[in-house]
């Protein structure tokens, strides 16, 4: 078993005390759980933790006595929002970690393959045309995948997609769809659809609902299962195309399977919550500092940390001021300096 087999060795590769790895993984696994539970009590209407647990018990069908308001606030308002945050944060961090491995570059994020911009355009277009929630999700998803297909077509050289061509094709595709997004906002009715589009683009969990949670959780479950199953393959791809091929791997199909799974994660999150940047870039770095570069450990760690991180940031977004701060704005405000600090810290000793 890979995880247990490699747990004994630390990030730096030196032998560590036997308690360190279980404690570290216990902490990483507990992080999203604890943050999620605490967050159920945080907000305009504070709920003590015992009441939160009682409300959860009531929601699970146990006959417990909870005030109706508490039950409604916890189960109908906060729980879907927090679950959505956990799922999307985990998915974005997982996608980021996988993409950084496949592109052999720790500076890569889900934006780099143009998928975010494609999904943004699809969603904005649906809002412009007034297609409703289903249209918004379908639009984001379809154009996220469209962006990936365009990247695929542009990056082909002699039947292959070298990493450099992939990145360049991603930049070109991203810029193209960003321009289309501008066009859509320019065409939008400034009294009605324009604010909707702008707020949606800035990212938010404020509109979280059980159907949305169900949708994004379904997509994330499938895509995350694929990425987790292929995490040793990501290790091999991170050696470079030629090495991977010489080691007996079918490089192209493997890489595209991972790219499609990552795209599904990003497009699914954009569809329900708009554009949330930086999570897929910053969280894998933190995870790498904690558990090392091996993607067999990095992917689960990034997913768990991303889930907790996202809900933490969303807590700030919904409680810091009287009106909500857009989530995408917050993740950038927190993420950019954090990333700068990580860069300074990690540059010296390679990407640890």
């Amino acid at each position: 078993m890979s995880l247990a087999g490699t747990l004994g060795r630390s990030a730096a590769g030196r032998r560590e005390p036997a308690w360190r790895a279980p404690a570290l993984w216990g902490g990483i696994a507990a992080f999203p759980l604890v943050v999620g539970l605490m967050s159920l009590g945080i907000g305009r209407y504070p709920v003590p933790i015992d009441q939160v647990l009682l409300a959860l018990a009531a929601g699970s069908g146990f006959a417990v006595d909870v005030p109706g308001t508490v039950e409604r606030v916890v189960l109908l308002i906060r729980l879907p929002r927090i679950l959505e945050g956990l799922v999307i944060g985990g998915g974005l961090a997982l996608a980021g970690a996988a993409l950084q491995g496949v592109f052999r570059n720790p500076l890569v994020g889900p934006q780099i393959i143009g998928v975010s911009s494609g999904a943004a355009f699809g969603g904005a277009l649906a809002l412009l045309l007034g297609l409703g929630l289903a249209g918004l999700m379908a639009g984001a998803f379809v154009f996220g995948i469209t962006a990936l297909v365009i990247v695929f077509a542009l990056s082909r050289v002699d039947g292959r997609s070298p990493v450099l061509m992939l990145v360049l094709a991603g930049v070109v595709t991203g810029a193209f769809f960003a321009a289309l997004v501008s066009l859509v906002t320019f065409l939008a009715d400034p009294n009605d659809t324009l604010p909707a589009i702008v707020y949606w683009l800035m990212g938010s969990f404020a509109t979280a609902s059980w159907p949305k949670v169900g949708l994004v959780a379904g997509v994330t479950a499938v895509a995350a299962t694929v990425l987790m199953a292929m995490r040793f393959r990501i290790n091999i791809l991170s050696l470079g195309d030629e090495d991977a091929q010489a080691l007996g791997i079918a490089v192209e199909p493997t890489r595209w399977a991972i790219l499609v799974a990552a795209t599904a994660l990003v497009a699914g999150s954009v569809a329900v919550a708009g554009i949330i940047g930086w999570v897929g870039l910053v969280v894998p770095h933190i995870a790498r500092m904690l558990v090392g570069p091996d993607h067999r450990r990095l992917l689960p760690a990034a997913a768990l940390l991303g889930a907790g991180y996202m809900v933490l940031v969303d807590n700030v977004a919904r409680t810091a001021t009287a009106s909500e701060i857009p989530l995408g704005v917050l993740t950038a405000i927190i993420g950019a300096p954090m990333f700068a600090w990580l860069l300074r810290r990690t540059q010296a000793g390679g990407w640890t």
Binding site: G13, F232, N235, P293, D294
Partner: protein
């Protein structure tokens, strides 16, 4: 056994061939060296044989899997030595699986045979060039492939490390009865470990045969466009052959300097 028949390779969108109509055979258990000046296509030939590049004509037949030691790998992530070596097992691990106990055992065995087991937990990014070369050789050994292909395994190494790498290759090849194919810029390395050699004199002029014939003074002088002497020395009663280029004595109209 590796059989190469009428192999040609053109760079994409280039009419001029890197090499043309190349044929040779590497019998099972042979140690086969490929020599030639920079830019003559040694690495290209190796990659074509491995199937990493598609030839423009001709064909390559290989009986069995290959373990490949590339010419220095850029590693963006500080994987541990053991993690790198276990990747040599990738061929036998299904797409949705991770290496198991047997794979780690094979990786440790490969490191142990090179005397590198103590490095298992070290990050590869902190190793010296010679150490990294040994790790890549261990990775190829861990694959348990019957054919070992190495691209300039001794370039950028000092004398002591050249000796260690060559010694390791020769020993493993003998013990496991491997077929070895390697490129080199050092004729004495070919004389030391190879029994057969291919000298790439020109795009359509490659000569294969027993290493002593292919790497004679006259042949080497023609190959590199510079007078080259093969000297026999005596070391502690043992004859030693060494190759000495006569620097500064090249024909003025010698080979143009070509980038590798």
């Amino acid at each position: 056994m590796i059989t190469v028949e009428g192999l040609s390779y053109h760079l994409p969108r280039d009419r001029c061939a890197v090499f043309r109509d190349l044929s040779f055979r590497v019998p099972d258990g042979a140690v086969f060296a490929i020599l030639g000046p920079n830019g003559r296509g040694k690495t290209t030939l190796l990659k074509t044989v491995l199937g990493l590049l598609r030839p423009s004509a001709g064909r390559v037949r290989i009986d069995g899997a290959t373990g490949y030691v590339p010419q220095g790998t850029h590693l963006p992530f500080p994987y541990s030595v053991l993690d790198i070596v276990v990747m040599g097992r990738a061929r036998g691990i299904a797409a949705f699986r991770s290496p198991g106990k047997a794979d780690y055992a094979a990786a440790r065995r490969a490191l142990d045979r090179l005397g590198f087991l103590g490095f298992a937990d070290r990050p590869v990014t902190e190793l010296s060039g010679g150490e990294r070369q040994m790790v890549l050789i261990a990775r190829a050994i861990a694959s348990e492939a019957p054919i070992l292909v190495l691209d300039e395994p001794t370039s950028a190494l000092d004398f002591r490390n050249q000796d260690r790498v060559l010694g390791a290759i020769a020993r493993i090849a003998r013990e496991d009865r491997l077929t070895v194919l390697f490129t080199t810029h050092y004729p004495q390395h070919a004389l030391h470990v190879a029994d057969t050699a291919l000298a790439m004199h020109g795009p359509a002029d490659a000569r294969a045969g027993p290493v002593a014939d292919i790497l004679s003074e006259a042949e080497l002088t023609d190959l590199y466009g510079l007078p080259i002497r093969v000297a026999r020395l005596d070391h502690a009663g043992r004859p030693v052959r060494t190759v000495a280029p006569v620097f500064g004595a090249a024909e003025p109209a010698g080979l143009p300097l070509v980038a590798p």
